[in-house]
């Protein structure tokens, strides 16, 4: 029996086991659903008490998305969601199986939060046990990788990824196919692959969720990429602040190795690929690819000037492919269903779907996946359910601490790399923070600038000193001590830091200030002391 057939058989056996149960209770075991362990225990105890162990299966699952109403429990095959479940609810939930669902806990079946989404990357999230490779195999997992490695040539894969139009999901939106082709063509015997899982944007947890829910999908994407570009060693650089993601990745790597999907001679071919984890240590700037490389090499995470780009001169001077978690997680789907399937969704320039972490002053906070081109209004008011407690929408901030704040008048803008950038913001990795009429924009912007100042590596002058100076100026506005000169200095500094900083952190740090100066200027003017105040000069 070939390795391929063995995996097939393993998947079928798992499916038979799963099919033998009349009901499945999936309990969200992501970081956002507290006490899920106790819920699982309570459900199992109840089922055992009733002697239903052969009929009902309780499974640990990944994130179901609606974190605001968690912990969630999904009942299959009925596809019924229960919200804010506690261990005490176990009896009622088990008793209702096959009958009328428990109304008290029931989420409406037509909730736009679920119906407006199009889950591709998240399709298996919350549907399979992230700690069981057989679950992933039974759902068709690793079929793309096995097919790619045993039946496709690297150029063929490069062509498909290129044609799909997939762009980097980490923020900058560089065409993935182009990056892969550059690494594939780069001269050098040794090439490396890196998965950037250093999701540092506060308010963003897309990658955490993908890693916690479907770690094997990320490994599968990396495996296909490694085969396509000719890399034999891969690293996943993951935040130490994500212990659950780290644990599940470690387990997934071990299970993939045991099933010969990683290691020497993948799938019985001559292709070798090993994956190692590297833990971040609390530095936002390490999300920048060259800083991340410095960090893997054991140094301070200070970015290098580009060019040379990592694709030509990266880890230990070798050609290196760096993609983010969500980018890799898209790859198995593209290989399975083709470039045209992927490109059929989204806008002209931004194809496919994108995962967003919707948080802040919003009713249905959680993790969502929508096609590119959906408007901000649909995301905030339909999927997100709007603003709670009768407050009014004020702004939505996309792209993390260095993204811009988009006001109500642009809510009908379709989300794409281009449109967000035209509005003075960025796609970023997918954080989306909603602010309402209680939010003070200058205060929020000061918070973002403090973040950038604290996270600046200090290597280049504009970012190191400029972000600190911008922060001091914003403090003056908050204290109502600012003058017209301060406003002018603020604008000068923002331009300087944006234009002359060495890396993306500095280059985008002024975005929150610039976008709020554009859309909420009055809030700055309202906080000025005396428009003709004295000009402060330092001495040489």
């Amino acid at each position: 029996m070939t390795q391929r057939e063995a995996l097939q058989q393993q998947a079928e056996q798992r499916q038979q086991v799963l099919d033998a149960f009349s009901h499945h209770l999936l309990v969200c075991a992501g970081l956002g659903c507290l006490h899920n362990d106790e819920i699982i225990k309570a459900l199992r105890k109840e089922i055992a008490a009733q002697g239903l162990e052969q009929q009902i299966l309780v499974r640990k699952a990944g994130c179901m998305g609606l974190c605001a109403l968690g912990p969630l429990v999904l009942v299959l095959p009925d596809a019924v969601y229960y919200q804010t479940v506690t261990p005490q609810d176990a009896g009622e939930i088990v008793a209702a199986l096959g009958k009328e669902p428990v109304q008290r806990l029931l989420l409406p079946a037509d909730l736009p939060f679920f119906s407006k989404q199009q889950k591709k990357v998240l399709a298996l999230s919350g549907r399979i046990d992230p700690e069981n490779i057989d679950d992933y195999l039974a759902a068709g997992g690793y079929a793309s990788a096995v097919n790619a490695i045993t039946a496709m040539s690297p150029p063929e894969i490069l062509r498909i990824v290129g044609e799909s139009g997939l762009r980097g999901r980490g923020g900058a939106g560089y065409p993935t196919g182009l990056k892969w082709a550059t690494v594939a063509q780069a001269a050098g015997e040794r090439k490396y692959l890196i998965c950037n899982a250093d999701e540092g944007d506060p308010g963003a947890f897309m990658d955490r969720s993908v890693l916690e829910s479907t770690p094997h999908a990320v490994l599968e994407g990396m495996l296909i990429a490694a085969y396509a570009v000719g890399a034999h060693t891969g690293f996943i650089y993951v935040r130490a602040e994500y212990p659950l993601a780290v644990k599940r990745l470690q387990l997934a790597i071990r299970e993939a190795e045991r099933n010969r999907l990683l290691g020497q001679g993948v799938c019985g071919t001559s292709f070798d690929f090993t994956v190692q984890l590297r833990l971040g240590a609390g530095a936002f700037v390490c999300g920048e690819e060259t800083a991340l490389i410095e960090s893997i090499e054991g140094r301070r995470g200070t970015p290098r000037p580009k060019p040379p780009y990592p694709a030509e001169n990266g880890l230990w001077g070798s050609p290196t492919l760096i993609n983010n978690v969500e980018t890799y997680a898209n790859i198995p789907l593209i290989i399975a269903r083709g470039a045209a399937w992927f490109a059929a969704q989204g806008t002209e320039q931004s194809k496919g779907t994108k995962v967003f972490a919707l948080t802040g002053r919003i009713k249905h906070a959680g993790l969502v996946e929508v096609p590119m081109g959906m408007t901000l209004r649909e995301i905030v008011f339909e999927i997100g359910g709007g603003i709670p407690d009768g407050h009014a929408f004020k702004a939505v901030q996309t792209g993390g601490p260095s993204g811009g704040c988009i006001p109500a008048e642009h809510l009908d803008a379709p989300i794409s790399y281009e449109s967000l950038s035209a509005l003075g913001s960025i796609m970023g990795s997918g954080g989306m923070i909603v602010m309402d009429d209680t939010s003070n924009m200058v205060d929020i912007v000061k918070y973002f600038m403090e973040f950038c100042m604290e996270e600046s590596c200090g290597k280049c002058v504009p970012c190191r000193v400029g972000t600190a100076q911008i922060h001091s100026l914003l403090q003056k506005f908050c204290d109502r001590q600012a003058s017209a000169d301060d406003l002018a200095a603020l604008e000068t500094l923002c331009d300087l830091v944006k234009t002359t900083s060495l890396c993306g952190l500095g280059q985008s740090a002024p975005n929150p200030v610039l976008s709020t100066l554009k859309y909420f200027r009055q809030e700055y003017l309202d906080r000025m002391a005396d428009p003709s105040g004295p000009h402060q000069e330092g001495q040489l």
Binding site: E241, R278, A283, E297, G298, R300, G360, F451, C457
Partner: protein, 166 residues
């Protein structure tokens, strides 16, 4: 308290763990951050003797080791208190008032982020987003999450927890 690894070092299994990490990387300099993680996991923090040992084993200049340790927020050069309160300072938590939790901690316990009380009982730490934004605001008391609480509720819980912890 870590003991400097001399001939006694086999007596403390924790040094073996650290050495094993370095050996796995053939004592290459790029193992520095992995080794620091292992050392901090073992001892709770990184003291001068530990850093000296790692620098010597990895043949890395002391200043380079210290530069790395102080660059990353995760690495601590002082021991933590018996109990730790971690306040998430991510955007969603900020928008929902965690800055006021920090102000409250300073007012009531004279603790700023990174500080430990003089009796070594409580350490206050801040963390850049734990990624549980839908539960904002998030405070973590000795590993358990206090989520979605108002300022009054969470401070009451912190008080209760600190009395329990006493």
């Amino acid at each position: 308290m870590p003991t400097p690894p001399s001939d006694l070092h086999l007596q403390d299994k924790r040094w073996e763990t650290i050495d094993r990490v370095m050996r796995r990387h053939d004592f290459r300099q790029d193992a520095l951050i992995e080794t620091l993680h292992a050392a901090q996991d073992a001892f709770g923090y990184l003291d001068a003797d530990t850093l000296r040992h790692i620098a010597a084993r990895l043949k890395t200049p002391p200043s380079k080791v210290y530069g790395v340790v102080t660059f990353y927020n995760h690495f601590k050069t002082k021991p933590k208190g018996e109990h730790t309160l971690v306040v998430c300072t991510g955007t969603a938590c900020h928008v929902k008032g965690n800055d006021r939790v920090l102000a409250w901690m300073e007012e009531h316990y004279q603790l700023k982020p990174g500080d430990t009380t003089t009796d070594n009982r409580i350490s206050l730490l801040e963390v850049r987003c734990v990624g549980a934004c839908a539960l904002a605001p998030v405070v973590i008391a000795d590993g358990s999450i206090i989520a979605k609480k108002s300022l009054a509720e969470s401070t009451a819980m912190i008080r209760e927890w600190l009395n329990d912890a006493a």
